[in-house]
Subunit: 367 residues, 2 copies
């Protein structure tokens, strides 16, 4: 297993960083496809900031705002057709994980003819338009990863499409866009980011560089646990969560994720549980499983957050997540079976069997 670190996206950060760097926007193209969700980018000021910059630069744009949560293949194919029809030469994604992940797939499918059979192969040509990504949630880290996660009805789960050509050229981080984010979304996305960094440390591809970045990400996000419980976050804390999330993206860009994500996708696909929340429901049970084989590693991760035991971490997550969803034994068995086919499972530092996955799902979700 090659140990490597690679993350070529240029990250620009800080308050008003979009407005202060018009020359970076100017260089990406003449006609920009803006990919965003239905409403949040319009409300939080991010879309206005981008349009003002493009307008004063004399650039033109067209907006594709029909990205749904957990975007489907049909959704990104629609976006790609739109991009081709409009003749765009560059892409700006504004939003959470869904618009950002969709933007990568839209870009790829607008530039290359790829059948559904080959969509998740990672075997693509080099053609891609330059991309600027502006996250408006602090969770996915998509702004610094080469991944696009799409709902895959054929496999009845979410599946990752990945290639180095999908790294955005630029990422802009401004937590001002998150000031009015509802607390449940704040928590779910923060737990998604935390899960990335923790999972990154328990993959086979974890290495000293990714572990260093993961540790700092975990430190930043866990420093906001109390504030998230209180329901009130300052702008500084919003920035801590955002930087924690981007650092988490830098980790999984190199390590990938684990069985937590594989199992979580079933909770999202079959029960419509938010992605970050699904990870949070499963993470402690998975850490308990790994703890049986690698107690020092789990102890290291827990100590970064100030915990001695997985149970303490689970208690904190329970405080943040509220009443946990439950599933039946039969559902647990089915989801374990689906997850066992994903590559994330074999990426875990200890590879769980299907029975192990059933046990983890029981512990986490079967009352």
């Amino acid at each position: 297993m090659r140990q490597q670190y690679f993350m070529p996206t240029r990250v620009i950060m800080g308050e008003d960083c979009v407005k202060s760097n018009p020359e970076i926007f100017r260089e990406i193209g003449n006609k920009v496809l803006i990919v965003t969700g239905a409403s949040s980018a319009k409300k939080n000021g991010s879309l206005d900031d981008v349009l003002n910059v493009l307008s004063s630069n004399g650039q033109t744009w067209t907006i594709f705002d029909r990205v749904t949560p957990n975007p489907s293949i049909a959704c990104v194919r629609e976006g790609a057709e739109f991009a081709k029809k409009e003749g765009v030469d560059s892409v700006i994604a504004i939003g959470g994980g869904s618009p950002m992940d969709a933007a990568k797939a839209i870009n790829l499918l607008a530039c290359q003819d790829i059948s559904d059979d080959n969509l998740f192969s990672g075997q693509y040509g080099p053609e891609i338009m330059p991309m600027i990504f502006i996250p408006t949630t602090a969770g996915t880290g998509s702004e610094v990863t080469p991944y696009s996660i799409l709902t895959n009805d054929r496999a009845r789960t979410k599946t990752s499409l990945g290639s180095p050509i999908l790294f955005p050229k630029y990422a802009f981080l401004d937590a001002r866009y998150m000031l009015d984010m509802p607390m449940n979304i704040t928590i779910n996305t923060a737990i998604d980011a935390l899960s990335h960094s923790i999972e990154g440390m328990i993959t086979r591809r974890a290495n000293p560089v990714t572990n260093s970045i993961a540790a700092e990400s975990i430190r930043k996000i866990s420093s906001c646990f109390d504030a998230m419980k209180s329901g009130k976050l300052s702008l500084d804390q919003r920035f801590e969560l955002l930087y924690g999330s981007t650092l988490g993206g830098m980790v999984i860009a190199n390590t990938g994720t684990t069985a937590v994500h594989s199992m979580g996708y079933s909770l999202t696909y079959f029960h419509n549980v938010d992605h970050g929340r699904a990870n949070g429901l499963l993470l402690p049970a998975f850490m308990s499983y790994i703890n049986k084989h690698k107690p020092e590693l789990i102890s290291t991760i827990l100590s970064i957050m100030g915990f001695d035991t997985v149970q303490q971490f689970r208690d904190t997550l329970n405080d943040l997540l509220g009443v946990r969803e439950s599933i039946s034994r039969e559902q647990a068995e089915k989801y374990a079976e689906i997850a066992s086919r994903s590559k994330n499972v074999s990426n875990s530092i200890v590879v769980p069997s299907t029975d192990d996955l059933i046990g983890i799902l029981y512990e986490a979700l079967v009352l």
Copy 2:
């Protein structure tokens, strides 16, 4: 001041990583220029590993091993003429900071016609050959930076040449090459790396991403203080120093350095003091100066190393460095004046005046 993070080099790491990744070497070119120093790469096994990989790949190469410590403009011009004459299409640098920094400048000058007047301008065309860098010391971080530091006789100091085109395409990190490194070189280079991460945190361009990476770098290097004092380092500790050094490179690739480096260059230029050692002699006095203006920042840096005061840090460095060099008052004034013209000085989070620099040099070096 734009806050940004960018480091596009792909870092491959771990024991025997050169031998295990021949396909990466194969892709860089058909005729490789190997840039190295006079002897260490031959002794520590790194050159043999590379030649074996190139040979089994069927690639050809030519070796430029006339890089001197603190390479001059004449030295890199000689290397560039050699590269052009030999018709190489790619570059592999093996060694410490001098061969690595020289390799970047040789590559640039082999691909582009640049006069001495424009050499440090940073205004170059895009032409450059792909580069693989293999550090055999754990100090410079050059394998992940866009800088080449050359001895500049016209300015009577060392001057940095920098451009994003100078990032190596790949860096290979294997601490096995450092197992037989003499302890004084180990210490000097480790202090250079530590200085990069500490200085990175006290620049105007420091940001939350670079600070996260710097903190982990400082943690790794300072965890080896006792082992360096004892004169005995395990392979694991050698790797900690190496990863600490690469992380330090990732920091200064974005932040640059401070007045410590500017002043240190005079100690190297006029007194032939090793570069890392020069930084170590000056760093505590510079931190004391910053501490008057930014006590929380210095306290944060010290606490990562387990220190409460700058004096404790200075004591530890003194243990490692042994008897300190001294300079005269007149020399301090001259070096402060030379340093005051460098851009590193204005890059410090608190910009010292020439009088401040004189005070720092007095405190550090005038008995």
